[in-house]
């Protein structure tokens, strides 16, 4: 309230950059002022170097690709299943009565709570991580798809029926496109939770299996904690987690605009 006119450069560069830069400077100076801690204490420049070193050694690209592969395959499976289940529930009363209570019972269980059982069932590798991601993705996609499907204007369906459309045609040409915005929204929400969950899953596995072959970003971070105490490498991992989260979110927003150029 009551903002005075500010010069354009100040509004554009100074304001958004001031606090982050100040924080980084304080961080760098605090560590440099304590020579005794310089062995393990990370600095911003150390983190930048860490990025370079981990990329050259191949550890960062390898773990990142492994995590990405898991999240996308887990997502693909869960997304297909969730959309199919939502279609079934919205089209058939019997399916709704049988499936809905069971799904509503499992929905509030945090995906992370399944990690121990996933390890028991699938071991400490890719399948356990995929299960966790799949569980995290399934429910937001299911709920949003169902909301979207139920929100379809019945007049559109009736119009298509009047014009002689078959049941499959109505699903494919009328219901699914009309529900598309909420389906994509569900996918975006699900991927957000899924990415946090997969890091947790890899971390739990990494902290228990003693650095086996299970891999992934989460485990990479944990190995640096328990074996070499390279804190700056851990921060590299954290920043990578953040960047991937941003990219996934931006990708889905882009997809939303691409699939639905009309305003909604």
């Amino acid at each position: 309230m009551g903002d005075r006119e500010t010069p354009a450069w100040q509004a554009r560069y100074l304001r958004p950059l001031a606090l982050p830069l100040l924080l980084l400077a304080v961080w760098q100076i605090t560590v440099m002022a304590q020579p005794s801690a310089s062995g393990i204490a990370p600095t911003p420049f150390g983190v930048i170097r860490g990025f370079w070193e981990l990329t050259l050694s191949g550890e960062l690209p390898k773990s990142l690709l492994q995590s990405l592969f898991r999240i996308f395959s887990g997502f693909a499976a869960a997304f297909t299943l969730a959309v199919a289940a939502a279609l079934l529930v919205s089209l058939s009363r019997a399916a709704e009565y049988l499936l809905d209570p069971v799904l509503e019972t499992f929905r509030p269980i945090a995906p992370i709570a399944w990690i121990p059982l996933a390890i028991l069932w699938f071991g400490t590798g890719t399948y356990a991580a995929m299960f966790i991601v799949g569980y995290a993705v399934f429910f937001p996609v299911f709920v949003n798809t169902l909301t979207g499907l139920r929100g379809v204007d019945p007049r559109l369906v009736n119009a298509a029926l009047t014009l002689g459309a078959s049941r499959t045609m109505i699903v494919r040409e009328v219901i699914l496109p009309a529900a598309l915005p909420t389906i994509v929204l569900g996918a975006r929400l699900g991927m957000g939770v899924g990415w946090a969950a997969i890091v947790a899953a890899e971390m739990t596995v990494g902290s228990k299996s003693g650095g086996g072959a299970s891999g992934g970003l989460g485990q990479m971070m944990f190995i640096f904690l328990s074996y070499s105490l390279e804190l700056r490498y851990i921060i590299v991992g954290m920043i990578t987690v953040g960047i991937v989260a941003l990219l996934i979110d931006a990708g889905f927003r882009r997809l939303e605009r691409l699939l639905m150029p009309w305003p909604h």
Partner: protein, 261 residues
């Protein structure tokens, strides 16, 4: 009218019982087929285990320590996040300074902080508190700031015209007007905090529900793990329901509850 509602309520319960009964039956048969109680225990075994864990107090003590951590971290996040969000909603220059920092840190999930926090805090109470606080504060701040901005400016102007002071405008108009959206932020924050507390207990805490399921996993006691998993779901649902009720009770006039409730 009344009778028909009762009848539909009864039908809903029957449907629920039928659906869950069928699920438990499938689970039972699957467990018999698999035949390995360490992998997939029978539902009746899980039920007995649950009774035993309640009777021994194991379940309740662990749930209590998880809830204590969640509550402390979450309340701290609200105590810091709501005032900060209010200030950001009031001052555009403060918002311009703080938002980039928030947007920079927010994508890094609280869970990704666990290894670093584990180094600084060690195993104990500080770790889950920090992770919950970190996870919950962003939704609270962002929603509060957004809430203040969507309060009808005409109300503020009207109050000003009638001679209300700054403090009065904040207390009588902006705060009540943004309360519903603050509740929405708090609900999201509580959900994120619930994930965060379980995750941090899985890795680095000597008690709590997350610790309980991970410990029983290493003991290969699947039935006890399942009891823990279902308790986590149940408590999470219960907390969300209570917060929803509280939100509705404090701001019954808000028309957005259909959308956000």
């Amino acid at each position: 009218m009344r009778r028909s509602r009762l009848a539909t309520g009864g039908a809903a319960i029957t449907r629920y019982a039928l659906s869950l009964g069928l699920f438990v039956l499938i689970w039972f048969l699957a467990a018999l087929y698999v035949g390995k109680p360490n992998t997939l225990p029978r539902p009746d075994v899980v039920f007995h285990e649950a009774l035993e864990m309640i009777a021994s107090g194991e379940l309740l003590t662990n749930a209590a320590s998880t809830l204590r951590r969640l509550l402390a971290g979450f309340l701290l996040a609200c105590a810091a996040g709501v005032p900060l969000g209010l200030l950001m909603g009031l001052s555009r220059s403060l918002e311009a300074y703080v938002t980039p920092l928030i947007e920079m840190l927010r994508p890094i999930s609280g869970i990704a902080w666990i290894p670093l926090a584990l180094y600084f805090f060690g195993i104990g109470e500080a770790l889950p508190h920090f992770i919950i606080f970190y996870g919950a504060i962003f939704p609270v701040v962002v929603n509060t700031a957004g809430a203040v901005k969507q309060v009808d400016r005409r109300l503020v102007d009207a109050a000003r015209t009638l001679g209300a002071s700054h403090v009065m405008v904040v207390r009588e108009i902006l705060l009540p007007g943004s309360l519903p959206m603050i509740f929405v932020g708090a609900r999201i924050g509580l959900g994120v905090g619930w994930m965060a507390v379980i995750a941090s207990e899985l890795v680095g805490a000597p008690s709590g529900l997350g610790y309980l399921i991970e410990w029983n996993r290493t003991m290969l006691m699947s039935s006890r793990v399942l009891v823990g998993v279902f308790s986590i779901g149940f408590i999470g649902y219960l907390m969300d329901w209570m917060l929803r009720r509280a939100a509705y009770a404090t701001t019954p006039w808000w028309t957005g509850w259909k959308q956000h409730g």
